[in-house]
Assembly symmetry: C2
DNA sequence: CTGAAAGCGCTTACAG
DNA sequence: CTGAAAGCGCTTACAG
């Protein structure tokens, strides 16, 4: 790489000092218009670009936020990252993106290196397997702004942006029951992860509210990927579970179960009502799932970034608050058109 | 934010100087094992983390690469970013992600700010509308390592990682012809964008090779999104084009055309053979497209990152080279299983 | 309106 | 084995 132009290079050409150049470039009132003009001309002539690393060291502002997501090559994550990126950008921040790959150890390392890079705040979606909170306690002690999104750890003193998993699950499962389903199996997430626990709670509450006692045999815990859905459905079969509906904790899990069904007995696809959280990212073309809770990824990302930047600027305080982003309950019709379900009608 | 511990804080506790601490922490042979041990203990005790900004300023290495993509919330882009992220990570680099949103002006701004951030190299996929190459000439002059991926600008002196668009399009369209299609329309990309031009060339070559003269009326140029596909198909209808096959430049374009067909006359979906570059990201469940050229997003990302890091380390030289990542030609069968098409058989 | 001094937290090169 | 000096490119606070 070629040596880059510095303030001093401009200063020498103009017989000024670097301080004046620095000021002129930043439109400091100290400097006369005539000088500013000359300085800027020379700057663009020699292709000067400020060294943000140096600037950060003095100003202790990097205009950078660190993002940790469990996955990126999935529709939902990509949407969230897009939302974060766009909003951060609009406020002059840039994002450093890291991926934990659902690995708590990697998650911790990424957080450490982001902190070392002096990011001004962190946006993290916790990996499924994370149980150790030491790093988060340290972040808290250091008063480094952090906002959880989608998957959070409660009671650590951070704000989180999430959807109302419990409420949305309850409503959705309630809708299945009202439309005639009685034997509703659930491919659930792990209980120690917020989304797993909450969605299962909503499921159980809906059942109880309609006088159905939840049967633990109809619930299979697992992680949130396609494989898990595939295995989960096979396990339900092995247990000889009869069902008229299946509620999957995520879209990929549902996808896995769909594949398993096709393998086992394709007629199940018509007989079993499919409900899942999240969609494929391509609307109105995938035959599955019939019912789904739309997770507004971009909106979650945008809101999380907004909260974080407000916290960085001091206008919001961290405080164990859960900010809910609204979801919609959608139905894929037989002609593949998607419509919102009206709960009052069913 | 609380004040962070510095080398001096550790030095004071141990009655040493910051230089020794710096060396001890980095396992410099100058320092005795006993001292190293004491230093590291104190460091972890007070939660010291090196300030990478300061380190970068002295070492002029940031271990950071800048990424510019036109979109992120799309399956293919997300795959590429995942590939970049993972590989860069494995070599100790972190990525700063920016999104141009297909806006050349934003693309330029992002590149400038990444350079100002002192990223050690750039990975960029050019936006559709980019025609101005000034910033790239400057990057070249400054000898800042840059590798294009997926969408590139030729002859600027940079290496690019791409798929063999022309060859893959030719093979795929050739396959359609061999299986009986004669009237193949094409929803193309713009001619000034590499993927648009190349794919169209492959299409035309395949036709000619089979004695069919390409009809410009059967080709609609546009951008690469769903809307463009929708409008493109409507335009083909307006032109009264008859077709037995439709080749879409990207998956979203094909998706748009699919939606337009359903609206116009659903029976077309069965009558018109659908071919596209790229897939939905969810395998074996989407009924469309029947034939597709799989774009190995992760592999493109990985390879581009590898080339860039090699260039940063000096083992690879920039030189207008096109590195091809192999594609596969796939068919979605009626049972939604996906199989690779064997060209020798058809 | 312009500049000299000090410092951000670290590393490199040189002394002892 | 340990340390004093200089400097990375910039900004802040203070003089003149």
């Amino acid at each position: 790489m070629k040596k880059r132009a510095t303030l001093n290079d401009i200063a020498q050409r103009l017989n000024l000092t670097k301080v004046s150049i620095s000021k002129a470039l930043r439109d400091h009132p100290d400097i006369s218009e005539a000088t500013k003009k000359r300085v800027k001309e020379v700057a663009s002539e020699i292709g000067y670009r400020p060294n943000l690393i140096a600037r950060s060291l003095t100003s202790s502002k990097t205009q950078t936020i660190g993002v940790v997501v469990p996955k990126i090559a999935h529709s939902f994550s990509a949407q969230v990252v897009a939302g974060i990126q766009r909003y951060a950008n609009s406020r002059g921040f840039v994002i450093v993106l890291t991926v934990s790959d659902e690995n708590p150890e990697l998650e911790r390392k990424h957080i450490e290196s982001l902190v070392s890079m002096q990011v001004e705040g962190l946006l993290v979606s916790v990996s499924m397997a994370t149980r150790e909170t030491e790093i988060y306690n340290w972040i808290r002690e250091m008063q480094i702004p952090l906002v959880f999104f989608d998957r959070y750890i409660p009671d650590l003193g951070f704000n989180s942006v999430v959807i109302d998993d419990r409420g949305a699950a309850k409503e959705a499962v309630g809708h299945l029951i009202k439309s005639g389903c009685r034997k509703i199996a659930h491919l659930a997430g792990y209980n120690h992860v917020s989304i797993g626990r909450q969605r299962r709670q909503g499921y159980e509450e809906a059942l109880r509210e309609h006088g159905i006692e939840p049967d633990p045999r109809m619930v299979i815990e697992g992680d949130v990927g396609e494989d898990s859905g595939y295995r989960g459905f096979k396990e339900l079969q092995a247990r000889n579970i009869e069902m008229d509906a299946l509620f999957s904790v995520t879209f990929p899990v549902g996808l896995g179960s769909y594949v398993a069904m096709r393998e086992t007995d394709p007629s199940m696809i018509d007989r079993i009502e499919m409900l899942a959280f999240g969609d494929s990212g391509i609307r109105g073309i995938v035959p599955y799932p019939h019912f789904y809770v739309e997770q507004p990824g971009k909106e979650i990302g945008r809101k999380a970034a907004e909260l974080l930047l407000d916290e960085i600027e001091g206008s919001v305080k961290p405080e164990n608050q859960l900010v809910y982003v609204p979801t919609r309950f959608l139905e894929t019709n037989s002609d593949f058109q998607v419509t919102e379900v009206d709960f009052n009608k069913s």
